[in-house]
Structures are given as structure tokens and as C-alpha cells.
């Protein structure tokens, strides 16, 4: 069974929680005691029936304020796939949650209310999904029951969104008219929308082709840990443990170790279950080389004729996460890229992006919470990286406050 990770985003009252509740409920993933607790909590609030939002709002503060503060992860499975939902809150101020959820997602599901159409937040969510390189985007036009399942409403929203998405880098975009409350086109195709020729939302989630989203070309293996047992049985064993970021590694392949630049050959690809002939993402394996080289954590095993870019000057889009401090040119931060830590100096802030209009403010002097901008960084040591568009694993980094250790920003290398 394959694993699909998807992020959901919508504005307040778009019915996102109801939709998730529906997916979980119809795939029998809500348990009786959870339902009981839900009914109880709903009643405590003096509300009727069942407030499905309370299913995802797990924190006391969220329940008290009736808002979702943080990404919640939900799990369900059908006979075809296992799903991980990163449910991201729709409030304007919580862009960072959308970035968090989208960063690992294969697919982003954006909800709009059929009565309201595309709103500022829908555009923001679509932009963030595209910025984070989410390969598949599904726009769910919800509450179709409240517009009498009118095809014209659906088509108008679809066209408007498609025009906007044309400005973004969206590889695969589909549209589904649904009513989360009534279940139309969620699990089964609905008789109320005979004009809709696509498949139900669940069917799309089960069928969307994700295996080829992996980059199997560019060999990038960040070394996480050097395994040296030093016991009698494995006296000379020296293996480099890590997770394949991209590419296909085979026994006998010529490789180059960066930053040293030494070349060698893959002697074996080990796992505790025995050696394997090849390793592809996202496998965690241990690579042994035919030569004794000095390789340590933070190094990268790549191919001599297909190397990552190398350098200390990096251009990137940054999404700023902190409300305690602002990004400013001249700022110094700790930076983590793959399994490597370095220090980074912000040499230049080129512009701040308005994510609603996509216009650039070149006079911006800083980035505050949830703001996105383009920067040039200088790092203390060379990074081995790729364009984020081509490689999410080697094109991404985080910035960390050197004093408080807070995670301040997510970076996508250009």
C-alpha cells in the first residue's frame, strides 16, 4: 500500500473540518469513543449535534477560542492507500502552518465556499502550495448544496482559479464540486452533479500518480551518521548511514564525496535485513565504499558527472516564522541544510512578496511573521544544494536564532 501525504487549507468556515470529518468517518477512521467524546464536548459548549471541528482542534486554547492554532495530523486508510493529512488552519496569521504542512505534502487540497468563490486566502494557499513545490493541487468547491449544485457557479470559480494558477508553478491542478456536509462527490460521485465528469475526491486521492514525483535522476545522499562497530565481527566495517534524498544508487556506481571531491565506488548498500542492489528515495540505507575515505556527517555522496551546485552564496525565498524578531539584512543565523549546520549572513533582502497580489516590494527593510521575501545569504562553509524546484530535499533549509534556538525561517533555494 502506498502512502500519500496531503495538506488541507481553507478559510474560516469553508467546511474543512467537516470535509476531513467526512473522509475519516466514511473510511471508518473515527472511533466510537472519539465520537462519544465529541458529542460530549459539543454539548459542553451548548451546541447541538456534533461539532466536527473539535475532532481536529486538540488543544485547550483551540477549544476555548474556537480556532485552530496549529497543524494537526490525521490518519486514515482505504484498501488502496494510507493517508496522512496535515490539517492547516486557515487564519491569515498562520501562514507558517500552511508552509509546515505543505513542505512534506504530495498534494494540497484547497477548499473554497461555493457561495464566496475565490477569496484572498484561496490565492494565498495556492501560492504557498506552489512555492513549497507541492506536485498536485486539488481545489474543492464546497457547499455546492447551498448553490443548488449549479454548474455555472462551479465553472466560474474554476476559471477564475485557473487564471490565477497560471501565474504560479502548478504542475497538476484538478477541481471537484463537493458538499462535505451532505457527502456529495466526497467518497462517491453524486447524482446531484450529473454535469461533473471527474471522479470523487477520495477516488482522486487514491489514484493520483505520485511515484514519478520522486527525483530518481540526481544522486544526492547526505551522510547522517558514520557506522563503525569496532567489534571482532565487523572490525573494519565503515558505513555511511543516511536517507536517499534523490537519485538511484546502485552497487558498483562511481561516486564522489563532497566536499572532499574524492571519488570511489559503491561496494555495497547495506540494511539490517541484508544488502540491497539499489537504493531510491526515501529509503534509509548504509552505503559502503571501496576506498577508505574521510567521510563524516554533513558530507554528501553524489555522482561525478551529476553533482549538486556548490557555494557559499545562495539565493533563496524565505518564509519568516517568528513574531519575536524580524529578518533584516546583516542578520546572522544558524542554518541547517540536509544533515549539515552552518552559519549564514543575510547579505541582501531583494524584495518582500505580497502573496495576495504577487507584487514585489523592493523597498522592504525586513520580514515579519508570515512574510515572504527573496534574500541572498553568505554561509560560513560551502553548501551542496540544488534548486528547490528540482529537489525539495537539497533545495531547502531552515534558519535558527543563535541565541534562543527558535526556528525562524524556511528557505527555498532558487
Amino acid at each position: 500500500m502506498e502512502l500519500l501525504r496531503f495538506a488541507t487549507a481553507g478559510s474560516v468556515d469553508d467546511g474543512k473540518s467537516t470535509l476531513i470529518g467526512r473522509l475519516l468517518y466514511d473510511s471508518k477512521q473515527i472511533f466510537e469513543d472519539t465520537l462519544e467524546a465529541l458529542e460530549h464536548s459539543t454539548k459542553l459548549r451548548g451546541e447541538e449535534g456534533m461539532n466536527l471541528a473539535l475532532l481536529t482542534d486538540g488543544l485547550r486554547a483551540e477549544r476555548e477560542q474556537g480556532i485552530t492554532i496549529d497543524v494537526a495530523y490525521r490518519y486514515f486508510a482505504t484498501p488502496r492507500r494510507k493517508f496522512i493529512i496535515a490539517d492547516t488552519p486557515g487564519h491569515v496569521q498562520y501562514t507558517r502552518n500552511m508552509v509546515t504542512g505543505a513542505s512534506t505534502a504530495d498534494l494540497a487540497l484547497i477548499l473554497v465556499d461555493a457561495r464566496n468563490g475565490i477569496v484572498e486566502q484561496s490565492r494565498r494557499h495556492a501560492f504557498l502550495a506552489s512555492l513549497l513545490g507541492v506536485p498536485h493541487l486539488v481545489l474543492c468547491v464546497n457547499k455546492m448544496d447551498l448553490v443548488d449544485y449549479d454548474q455555472a457557479v462551479f465553472e466560474r470559480i474554476k476559471n477564475e482559479f485557473r487564471d490565477f494558477a497560471a501565474k504560479l508553478d502548478v504542475r497538476d491542478l484538478t477541481f471537484v464540486p463537493v458538499s462535505a456536509l451532505r457527502g456529495d462527490n466526497v467518497v462517491e460521485r453524486s447524482a446531484n452533479t450529473p454535469w461533473y465528469e471527474g471522479s470523487s475526491l477520495l477516488h482522486q486521492l487514491e489514484e493520483v500518480h505520485i511515484a514519478s514525483d520522486r527525483n530518481l535522476i540526481d544522486c544526492r545522499f547526505p551522510v547522517q551518521y558514520v557506522i563503525r562497530p569496532r567489534d571482532d565481527r565487523f572490525h573494519d566495517y565503515r558505513g555511511y548511514a543516511g536517507q536517499v534524498a534523490s537519485g538511484t544508487y546502485k552497487v558498483g556506481d562511481d561516486v564522489v564525496v563532497l566536499p572532499s571531491g574524492f571519488t570511489s565506488t559503491i561496494a555495497s548498500i547495506d540494511t539490517a535485513d541484508g544488502p540491497v542492489e539499489e537504493a531510491v528515495p526515501p529509503m534509509s540505507v548504509t552505503i559502503r565504499l571501496t576506498d577508505e575515505l574521510d567521510v563524516s556527517r554533513g558530507d554528501m555522496i553524489s555522482r561525478p558527472n551529476n553533482r549538486p551546485r556548490e557555494g557559499q552564496d545562495v539565493d533563496a525565498m524565505l518564509c519568516w516564522f517568528s513574531d519575536r524578531t524580524r529578518l533584516q539584512a546583516g542578520g546572522k543565523y544558524a542554518l541547517k541544510h540536509t544533515s549539515k549546520w552552518a552559519r549564514a549572513l543575510v547579505k541582501d533582502l531583494h524584495y518582500r512578496l505580497d502573496v495576495n497580489t504577487l507584487s514585489r516590494d523592493e523597498s522592504a527593510e525586513g520580514l515579519a511573521l508570515n512574510e515572504i521575501g527573496r534574500v541572498t545569504l553568505r554561509t560560513t562553509q560551502p553548501l551542496f544544494y540544488d534548486d528547490y524546484r528540482r529537489n525539495r530535499a537539497t533545495g531547502s533549509f531552515i534558519l535558527v536564532d543563535e541565541a534562543t534556538n527558535d526556528t525562524l525561517a524556511a528557505g527555498m533555494i532558487l
Partner: protein
Amino acid sequence: MHRLISHLDALEAESMHLLREFAAEFERPVLLFSGGKDSVVMLHLAKKAFWPAKLPFPVMHIDTGHNFPEVLEFRDSAVERLDVNLVVASVQESIDRGRVAEDTTPGASRNRLQTTTLLDAIEEHGFDAVMGGARRDEEKARAKERFFSFRDEFGQWDPKNQRPEVWSIYNGRHRKGEHIRVFPLSNWTELDIWQYIADENIELPTIYFAHRRDVFRRDGMLMAVTEFLQAGENEEVFEATVRYRTVGDATCTAAVESIAVEIDDVIAEVAASRITERGATRADDKFSEAAMEDRKREGYF
């Protein structure tokens, strides 16, 4: 064409990535081990992540003193087989030293007291990272947890102020006295755990499988009669065929009626079950709708 990666392969690879980050980023990491199925899976994954080397960190058991004997036995043999260091932090010792007071009212458990014992042990041994087998599907506060979760110098979790966690780039930086909790099984569900146990042929304590036992009903749950827990006056003791879905303190962990003697029977039961494992078997989560959040804020697992 490359073979498809199954969901269990993907979860295993993710967990191994986390285990290696955990071992590499910290000076004194420790793995929590209770003998429960999730921690048994953790230990198995740790063995695989560093093979053929031994585990590069010790394991720690927070011992409430209210153990099922089968689980203690299992713990000791597992630790011996892997040749790892075991640290036992004892709730009884915390009580004897006056760090915590035992609640002696009927129905009380030592569950909450474990937090003090855990935090004291972290301080005493200077651990800067503590790895546990908690899963996001277990409970709604846990659904909000990070893989690398920051704890301040009091061991507190601040759910409203968590570090954003993007991609699989984990920030384990902290100051002296603070520590990080690491949860490599975050994305696993109960069913994933059982399927993995079956696929990998992982040995478990026998109480996870159906057996005969003296029990009584309390708050709708089946509690075992042990040296630590007796039936009350109005509670009738009877023999039943049961198994455990979770393993914790014997005074607050309930059994479920089951005839599942083989792992495949257990998987079939879990797949068909309409009640969550904590809801079915944990009296400690029934206090309030935020019981887990409150305990976690104080430093609980």
C-alpha cells in the same frame, strides 16, 4: 520501473532518519523503553538504524513499581540480547525520597507521578534528548506534537509556542538544562504498528495476546487483579479471556476481551475495532478532555 515503496517502508525509512538525527545531534540521548509494543518497535528500529553497530545510546525505563511481571521479564531479556545499557528510574524511589507523594485514594494510580521521576532522571543523568514511541494518532494533544519537541528547563511543553517543523530538517538546538523529546513513530497508527510487528516478526510481551486472567469491571473497563490492584467491595471478580492493547501501569491499564492468540488475529481485531486504544484501556486519559495535554505540559511522555 522502480518498485513502489509501501507505506510501512516509507514509515520505517522516516523513523530511521529520525533515529540517526537523534544519535548525531545530541551529546547524551536516551531511548525510553517500557516494554510496551511501541517502545519494542522503537528498539527494533534503533537496532536496524545502526546495524551492524550497537545502539549508540542507553535505554531508560520509568518504573512505576506497578508492572506486569511478563513485561519486566521481557524488558530484561530484550536489553540483554541487544547488549545495551539500561537505566531504571523508579517512581518508588521518588516517593521514598519525598519528591512526590503517593495518592492512596481508591482508584489512584502512579501514572502522573512518573513525570517527576522522568524529569529527575533526565537531570541526574544529564540527558539532553529523550526519545519515545508516542504516536499522533493516539490522542488529540499528541496530534499536535513535533518530531523534535522542545522542553524548557522545567521539562515543560508549550503547545502554543512550538518550533515550526518543515521538511525533514529537525532543529535540536537547546541550551543547557533544556532538552528535546524525539518521536520517530509520530506518523504511525496502531494498525501500522501491528502490521509492522507481524512483517518483521518482532517478539512482544505475552500479555498482548489472549490469555485467561482474573479481572473486574471498573468504569466500564476490565482491570486485572494484581498485587497492586484489588477489586472494590462492589466489584465482582471473574475470569475472562483478555489481551492488552497498551501496556502501562497495572493500576490504570485495562484489558480488552479477546480471543486473539496469534498476531494475525490481533491485526484483524485492531482493524475491526471501533474504539481507540487509549479510550479502551487507559483510565488516565479519562479525567478531562485535555488530560493528556495537561500532563504533557508538565513534562509527561
